[in-house]
């Protein structure tokens, strides 16, 4: 199949970016989206040009490295998958495809389609962990956990930190990511003792990174490759309200 690509090119973090047009010819329908970009890049390199830079790693939808807004939608309009799981058979022959980096002030462009998602790492470092003694793994059944809690925590824990939620949000809000990461620990007994400290620290780091505020449009859950529900945002709001009151009383 033959396609026209409108690709964001930006030579560096401070450079002025622009959309450039590429013709992608003879692309097999069974190729993945990233393989299609590999084919286009091979052509660019053979012609002596600078290949299109983009993030990728596992190429099986579990690492969270790939990004790209495809026709304005992070990871494409296909529900519940990452960019690396998008296949060219989902596009029409002759179609024009817009490919842009995830856009948010907190995710500055490094080059072309690569963005710096280090802000997520700093939010995790602020509170997305539990303090435990290191050593051999504890016996799995020593702390009983109800099935519903286990399921809820696991659903939140499926977040791969790709940043699609931020990229889809008109306000570049990171509430779905922070909500998922906080809920996954807060629901479990192991995460409970540090619940308030965690929620306050993660939300404050989120605000400090320059992410926007959630306006409850739920675009984030629509593009989340792991289909995490915006209910985790509701839980984060609830946990934050309780934590900030307890913090004020303690002071």
């Amino acid at each position: 199949m033959n396609l026209t690509l409108k690709v964001w090119r930006q030579s560096g973090p401070t450079a002025h970016g622009r959309i450039e047009t590429y013709e992608a010819k003879d692309i097999p329908a069974e190729a993945s989206f990233l393989e299609m970009l590999d084919i286009v890049n091979t052509g660019i390199i053979e012609e002596g040009g600078e290949p299109i830079h983009f993030d990728h790693d596992c190429r099986e939808g579990i690492c969270g490295a790939c990004s790209l807004a495809i026709n304005g939608v992070p990871h494409s309009k296909e529900a519940g998958i990452t960019t690396c799981q998008v296949h060219m058979r989902k596009f029409r022959d002759g179609e024009t495809i817009w490919i842009e980096p995830f856009r948010a002030r907190a995710f500055p462009v490094i080059k072309d389609l690569m963005v710096d998602r280090g802000a997520f790492d700093r939010i995790i470092a602020a509170g997305g962990y539990i303090d435990v003694r290191t050593g051999s793994a504890p016996e799995a059944n020593s702390i009983p956990i109800g099935k519903e809690d286990a399921d809820e925590a696991f659903d939140a824990a499926t977040c791969i930190g790709c940043g699609a939620c931020v990229a889809a949000c008109k306000n570049a809000s990171a509430m779905l990511f922070v909500g998922a990461k906080a809920a996954h620990l807060n629901i479990l007994p192991q995460g409970h003792p540090e619940k308030d400290k965690r929620v306050l620290a993660m939300v404050r780091q989120m605000d400090a990174e320059g992410f926007g505020n959630c306006t409850n449009q739920y675009e984030c859950e629509a593009v989340c490759p792991k289909e995490i529900s915006a209910d985790v945002i509701s839980k984060l709001n609830r946990d934050y309200a309780a934590a900030i009151v307890r913090e004020a009383v303690a002071e």
Binding site: K6, W8, I19, A69, N71, G72, V73, K77, W98, E100, R103, A104, R105, A106, A168, C169, K170, N171, A172, S173, V203, R204, M206, D207, G210, F211, G212, N213, C214, T215, N216, Q217, Y218, E219, A222, V223, S229, A230, D231, I233, S234, K235, L236, N237, R238, D239, Y240, A241, I244, E247, A248, E251
Partner: protein, 258 residues
Amino acid sequence: MLKKPQMNALGTSLLRFWNSSIGKKLIVAITGIMLVGFLLGHMAGNLLIFQGREDLNDYAEFLHHMLHGWGIWIARLGILGAFVLHIIATVSLVQQNRAARDSRYACDTTVQAPVSSRIMIWTGLTVIAFVVFHIFHFTVRLDPDLAGMKDPGNPDRHDVYGMVIAGFQNPLVVIFYILAISFLCSHLSHGIASIFQTLGLRTEKTRVAIRNLALAISVILWIGFLSIPILVATGGLKDAPATSSASSATPDPSLSQN
């Protein structure tokens, strides 16, 4: 000596609450609850117009005299405070949101966000303009014809019933009311559901009920508020001929009370 650090701690906590994204949204949600409560009460009071002149004017008189005349001012200040806080917090959030997304997609699209959620700031700003007009129209009563109307059954009090009928004789006013109330209800259909999300009450079990409740309240308010100007404009609600003669009665010393 103990008091000062306590005050500082409270001030620090409040400032931290205001400066946090979730804290500011909680303020929008809580003031939103107050404003929705006011709207429901206001609509219920307005609907007394269908009971007739006496019931509506009795209700208006009660509002002006409850707690020896203090009640209405306490309510007005409370509502004004909630309204102003709602606007300040929202404008601040919108500014932060625009700064957080400083570049737009060349191919900009929306997956599932309803239109009402995407025009909140514009519907909100329309409501501000409407509230200013509405206060000058029916509360301050800049129009001397509306201000001077007296209840034919009790010339000591203002004729709210006659004023509403007279106030909606101008089709431009009716059209503005229809547009503004429609924008208000669009604002509420997203806003009421958002209150539950911000307060952390939205879960898998309550999700659908909350959406339906927000929609139901918005539709009820839309019908309740607009039934009056539309029925007046279409002739369904008319003033009795006695009012016009009563309204031109001799000036009344109690006029300043209203």
